[in-house]
């Protein structure tokens, strides 16, 4: 495998992690977030600062996850009383707040960010295997959660949280778990990204990144683990394979978001289900 393919696959793995992490919050638990890149950023900055300070890559990655989850919990607690459109605006605010703060911090490199981040020490192939392993792990955990009673309770909260309470669901605790889990995984993705790019700037965690992650979740099908995985791979590959798309990446993501919401709100997963049902009907129809 060439260096380009290694690099591309690593980026795909990181984006899959990011998309699946947002899917836990937005897809499973129904809590929209327009500021997911902030948690990705906290993970990246935390891990980068720690390895630069001489701490090992693994503990730095864990610390990045913990830092992101901590911010996630704070945002989660602050958001318990806000819903839907208000939550979208609150999380968007968190995203801008993160950028605003980081840009002003000399010790975080300000606008220039952090460069010369240490190597992971795993080599390019080893690093790729780590990223893909983590992505596969989160994929498996997502499938498991959906099948478990936690997924069942999340479904009820995403549907109608007031009614969920009347059947004994502690809505606040479940939401916080979703926030903590999703933001911790975003933190891991951030730590990985920092040691993949080895240079991070604030804009790598801006609003457009939050929207890109959301586009992967929506295009894949909100809540569908397989759909989101496929969309994350496709949306990462498209701009890379077709260089001309790269210049219009935001246009592409925005357009796909719009098309999905208009024509297939359940995303790729919804289209697949539709195709499956139509196929079965056609089979049953007598010749």
């Amino acid at each position: 495998m060439g260096a380009y393919e290694l690099s591309l696959l690593t980026l795909i793995g990181i984006n899959v992690l990011l998309a699946l992490s947002l899917n836990l919050i937005t897809g499973f638990c129904g809590q929209i977030s327009l500021g997911h890149a902030a948690f990705y950023g906290v993970g990246a900055y935390t891990a980068a600062m720690l390895t630069k300070a001489g701490i090992g890559f693994a503990p730095a990655l864990v610390a990045g996850a913990a830092g992101a989850a901590l911010l996630g919990l704070i945002v989660g607690i602050a958001s318990l009383r806000v819903r839907a459109d208000f939550l979208a605006i609150t999380t968007m605010g968190v995203g801008f707040l993160f950028l605003g703060v980081v840009r002003q911090q000399e010790w975080l490199g300000g606008e220039l960010g952090i460069s010369q981040i240490s190597e992971s020490g795993l080599g390019e192939t080893g690093f790729l295997l780590l990223v893909l392993g983590l992505a596969a792990g989160v994929f498996a955990i997502s499938l498991y959660i959906k099948r478990s009673w936690m997924g069942f309770a999340f479904d009820s909260i995403a549907d109608d949280e007031d009614t969920a309470r009347t059947v004994g669901i502690d809505v606040a605790r479940y939401k916080l778990v979703a926030f903590a889990l999703g933001t911790a995984i975003a933190g891991v993705a951030g730590g990985l990204y920092a040691h993949y790019a080895r240079i991070i700037v604030p804009d790598a965690f801006g609003f457009t990144v939050s929207i890109s992650i959301l586009a992967m979740v929506v295009v894949g099908g909100i809540g569908s683990t397989v759909g989101v995985l496929i969309a994350a791979v496709l949306l990462t590959l498209m701009p890379e394979l077709f260089r001309f798309i790269n210049d219009y990446k935001l246009l592409l993501y925005g357009g796909l978001l719009l098309l999905t919401m208009r024509f297939s709100p359940a995303g790729l997963a919804g289209l697949a289900r539709l195709g499956w049902t139509a196929g079965r009907k056609a089979e049953r129809r007598p010749a």
């Binding site: 009673w149 007031d162 502690d170």
Partner: protein
Amino acid sequence: MSAPLLDVRDIEVRFDGLKAVDGASFSQARGTLTGLIGPNGAGKTTLLRTVTGTVRPVAGAVSLDGRDISALPVHRRARLGLGMSNQIVRPFRSMTVLDNVALAAGLDRTRNPLAALLAVGRTEQQARARDLLDLVGIADAADAEPENLPLGYLKRLEVARALALAPKLLLLDEPLAGLNHVEAGRLADTIATINQTGTTILLIEHNLSEVMRICGRLLVLDQGRLIADGAPREVMADPAVRAAYMGAEADAAA
């Protein structure tokens, strides 16, 4: 006599300065089936919601089984044994009818996120859910999406879902509304049966003939105040009740 299962003391609820419930007090003994009636806008649903916790009163206290639950959130009250079916149906729309009930039947599985994470498989709860759907007469719709069902089915789904909590006290808010004559009679019979098998029930209902038929006691609420309490026939003979009711009926007829 043992302590009442439900005790409601001096409940007062205000919406924008308007008194929706004005100092209502009553208690309900274990094993009874009590009807709560009154004209539209009397505050019946609001009073019931102060029991489940979805409405917070400005004054008063609610006790269940001798325990003051006034400060507890909705989900804790549900776990202590309060099940409520809504007047305006609110099914979980992403789930089948069966899973709507199975989720409630899995109360011990959803008690906290960790327990829920470690639990997989819902066969047991689905079996219980199927029995309850059968009890309320909608087992044929078990695998349907709530989206595609008529109101009569969704009303009974509400009852089945509340029952799945195995509540000590079942609060039913107009379960018969929207059902035709035969369905209403049948569901009223089912409610009476559920009561006879040990569940205490507090029932809001406008279908007076069914209420008179199955309830052992009637409470009448008018403009946020309890104006009568007693055996159905005595209560209905009470001039104050007749005035409140007939006044409302006359208004409705006009």
